[in-house]
Assembly symmetry: C2
Homo-oligomer: 346 residues x 2
Amino acid sequence: MTSADERATLVSVARAAGVSRQTVSNALHAPAKVAPETLERVLAAVEELGYRPSLAARQLRTNRSRTLGLRLEHWGGGISGSVLDRFLHALVDEAQGRGYRVVLFTADDDAGEVARYDELLSTGQIDGFVLTSTHHGDQRTAWLLERGVPFATFGRPWPTPGSGEPVRTDHCWVDVDGAAGTRAATEHLLAAGHAVPAYLGWPDGSGTGEDRRRGWAQGLTDAGVDPAGAVELQVPDSTAAAFEAVASALTDGGGAAPTALVCASDSLALGARGAAARLGRPLEVVGFDDTPVAHAIGVSSVAQPLAEAATLAVDLLLAQVEAGPGGPPPARQHLLAPRLVLRTSP
Amino acid sequence: MTSADERATLVSVARAAGVSRQTVSNALHAPAKVAPETLERVLAAVEELGYRPSLAARQLRTNRSRTLGLRLEHWGGGISGSVLDRFLHALVDEAQGRGYRVVLFTADDDAGEVARYDELLSTGQIDGFVLTSTHHGDQRTAWLLERGVPFATFGRPWPTPGSGEPVRTDHCWVDVDGAAGTRAATEHLLAAGHAVPAYLGWPDGSGTGEDRRRGWAQGLTDAGVDPAGAVELQVPDSTAAAFEAVASALTDGGGAAPTALVCASDSLALGARGAAARLGRPLEVVGFDDTPVAHAIGVSSVAQPLAEAATLAVDLLLAQVEAGPGGPPPARQHLLAPRLVLRTSP
């Protein structure tokens, strides 16, 4: 084990072997150019000094940095942020197992993220990117596709139909089937005897949110219940906003007040449960994301297979990064099934 | 903006200017060696092609990677993991603002982490490290100090007195004064009229845990209450374990059952509050770490200044990384004050 101070370098190996730096380099990378006895002397010095060609030097030769980039989203303070953090943990584990590092950066918006891509690419320190939080009007994927940069997204593309937005859909992605999760939650509540489970979701404009709402509506429709007759609430993703909206619905609803609620997130589920408890009204709630909070306080929730998603994202990305002369393989997509986790409050 | 496919290289600049690669390199880094008209031609080609010398090449010259390393701890599934994730977010922001990237890796234990240090250092891709979760018997800091590697820890050193363990204390660190936090919590509960606030902490062996317990004991002593007469419970950091222990204490305690509880974490506080609610017993609880869960469900908690800690950790580390020929500055330490966040349940 060499110390950082005494790290062997090309120069120290050259000095020890009594040859030029170019000869050391040739001995390592083009040994046929070096006379046998010189080669032997250089390799003996390499071994004795414990010299390892630096990654920076290797990178100049192979044009590969073995580094993947990921934007670390701003910490929102909510409880759902833990989803992307769990994804990050699984991603770093998976990448490391395949010999890649993950480098993080931050950005304020799509344009800022693209500027970071440009910077990392033009300085040659990155092999590809994993993108999270795909959304309507996403500008990032077209930019990367146009430049042939390897990437995979966690989250499918969400083009707005008929909008003419430049959201590309022909790239590698992995996502979780949110609609299947809320449909399963709705079916569970119907089977438990609730006539018309209500829905608590986000304002329009979120592809993920619209997908989750769709699963609830489909679950009702499949059971012969018209979603148009069900209670449906829209609030920002905050526990406080959910508390207020649900308290109003329970108070004003009279006989039509919901007895069960499918929620687009655990933050919403938590507020809903708090409102029902405060008013002493029975309300069976299912959240989404199976956060540590849902686990800790006993709220049913839809769990995303985050480790599997991270593994597949790395697979999809490295298939491009490590593509041979034939070029990258055709884009592939994976839509994973979530899992309904049922709990009863303690 | 050049595309990734057509990125200008030393070779393409050399070709465009009709000179050798060495001449391009000289024009950029040793212009005095190049004839004026050649220099002009090369620089025109550099500008026209939008060539930026790659970081890898720059790194070979400066031996600086502008990259900081951090071990990403295993996701434990608990609610307190969000503390280190919030620290990570602040760290990446701060490092980026100062022109550094953060690269993540994982490891199973101290030895595994040291092996990653060695690997990253010997391939020349790292300028220094930020360490988290310092602990009794920590082997990492001595390894780094012996090799003169720049680093700073979030968490102070925790040598075990008289153990002869090789835990070094003479390095840069930033930490939060946990004892001050639990002392403030204890003082708050005493002022609210609770005669003898109890303590719910972790098993012995955690430097952080012992520090937090110390603050509670000191708070009682300062108020003339003997901690030896107080209820004190030890459980692993799990909501379920806290639930059981507190339920027993409330049931078996009779007249001596606690009415207020200082907890070493929000996970413990959550379990404690659940037990009291289940038994219908009044129990005022203060947690530690001010997690999103505490915020969402209205539990008082001790908040760590994580953004400030991250800023200082980057400061301490970069002062070493960027030290001039005089060598790194003397090691500095920062102990930050936490803040008691009071809440009432909704």
